[in-house]
Amino acid sequence: MDSNRPLLEVTSLAKSYGGRTGLAGIDLAVGAGEFVVLLGPNGAGKTTLFNILCGLLPPDAGEVRIGGGRPGDAGARRALGIVFQQPTLDLDLSVRANLRFHGALYGMGGRMLESRMEEELARAGLVEAGRQVCRTLSGGNRRKVELARALLHEPTVLLMDEATAGLDHASRRALVEDVRRLANRRGVGVLWATHLVDEASEADRIVVLHEGRVLSDAAPAEFTFRTGKPTVDAAFLAITKAGAPRESTI
């Protein structure tokens, strides 16, 4: 394998549903320690892309490589940590029980699992809440548990699919900053899907996805410069309103 290859690499990926185009041949890459924000309005194809990356949906065409493997391969699945848009905690189990369950699915057990759990709970500031039933946690803390769970098996790529859905502004900011730090400190490659422009402020790169096409893939400053707009918000509105074809990708 090429040692300079990105952790996550998507090439000419296409997917259609009953005549409707979900993804129209997109390219995307996430390197180690990169925080890439996948910005797109509702219906852009973000969840379709994530389903393919997670191995839950086969693509019609194109290629995906995750840590050198294909989606669905055990190696690729191990390389991924995922926080889904829809909460996936078992609310009747305690925080630790949810983490243990996840660890077992990834083949972890014994002291290794317990020590990784404590590390992640401590990082998330949830040691005290470890015995609490998840149903009793606030929305923000539930997301923290999901992030701790996603990191438990030490993935190299973190997929965050609209992970701030339902959170208040302060909790959203805290989550974005937390994941940004993870990318910096652990070298985890992060793909953060959102339709909220303010979450892109911490990005190394912003990939704009619209109607199944990548309209832009650039650093925030470059994105605004190229669109001639003063802010990422204005640039995003301009580019998605214009609906630029792929050939004119900036």
Partner: protein, 290 residues
């Protein structure tokens, strides 16, 4: 400070998790799935109570009420005339397994609706193994409930040989697996919890009533209901009940075991194929989902 960029190759050995899908991984995953389902079952008091009360009511109200109406002639495996409540116990054990098999499929639909299924399907385990684990887990619950009912039946003085409890265990496991696999295969096509009750009424009741659970098949024939008699012979549940009935008395019913085993393989294969074709799991009920 920003970390030095790491490549996939550089990081590939970093995770502490085992690299392959080995026996230890398989056992841990299976244990976790069984443990979770047991925990949920024990904490769902309504389900726990219903699991024992439902067949017990049938035993008390139906069997005792009709004991003088239904006469059972001497048919294998019975070597003598048996009271109706003795005859009906294997059928009610089958009912316990049938209800729980379907209940397990409801749990699959619930997990899919609640998003938990995504977590399972994204794990580094083969999909068939996840389904097998769910099947084993549901069967463990089924068999525990079946023994709970046997204890109730014994408490009410129904004469079942004590050794029959032991002999029936493999049969209960096999029939429980078959009915659980049927539930799994059906859960592929039930996309929402709201549709579950309706769909199950078309499965549970015909399977239960058109079988030797409540009376021997010859009674259908005697009543001139040839179509029902034929339908009962095509019903896998018929063979499940017969397998349990025979093993409770230390006898083996080869045809019943073969049919139950064959149906188990067929239903499980359908479930695996269905979950492969139907991926991804149900989209979240959220307008933001794309």
């Amino acid at each position: 400070m920003r970390a030095q960029p790491m490549t996939a190759e550089a990081i590939s050995g970093r995770t502490g998790t085992p690299s392959g899908f080995g026996a230890a991984h398989a056992a841990r995953a299976l244990g976790a799935i069984v443990q979770r389902d047991l925990f949920r079952f024990v904490h769902q008091r309504g389900r726990l109570v219903a699991a024992v009360v439902r067949p017990s009511l049938w035993l008390l109200v139906f069997a005792l009420g009709f004991r003088n109406v239904f006469g059972v002639s001497i048919i294998p495996p019975y070597e003598t005339y048996v009271e109706y409540q003795v005859y009906v116990v294997p059928g009610l054990l089958g009912m316990v397994l049938l209800f729980n098999g379907m209940q397990s499929s409801l749990a699959m639909v619930y997990d899919r609706e609640m998003g938990f299924m995504r977590l399972l399907l994204a794990a580094p385990l083969p999909r068939w193994y996840l389904l097998l684990s769910k099947l084993v887990s549901g069967t463990v619950l089924s068999v525990l409930q079946a023994f709970g009912f046997l204890a109730v039946a014994a408490a009410f003085g129904v004469d079942i040989p004590w050794m029959g409890w032991l002999w029936a265990l493999p049969a209960l496991l096999l029939v429980g697996m078959m009915l659980g696999a049927l539930g799994l295969a059906l859960s592929v096509h039930i996309r929402q919890i709201e549709n579950f009750a309706g769909a199950m009424n078309f499965v549970i009741f015909p399977m239960f009533f058109i079988s030797p659970a409540l009376y021997p098949l010859w009674r259908f024939e005697e009543a001139g209901a040839q179509i029902v008699h034929v339908a009962a012979q095509l019903n896998p549940f018929t063979y499940g009940v017969q397998l349990i009935r025979f093993t409770l008395y230390g006898q083996f019913h080869t045809l019943a075991a073969a049919v139950v085993g064959g149906c188990l393989v067929a239903f499980f294969a359908l479930a695996v194929a269905g979950y492969r074709l139907r991926s991804p799991p149900a989209a979240p009920r959220n307008p933001q989902s794309t």
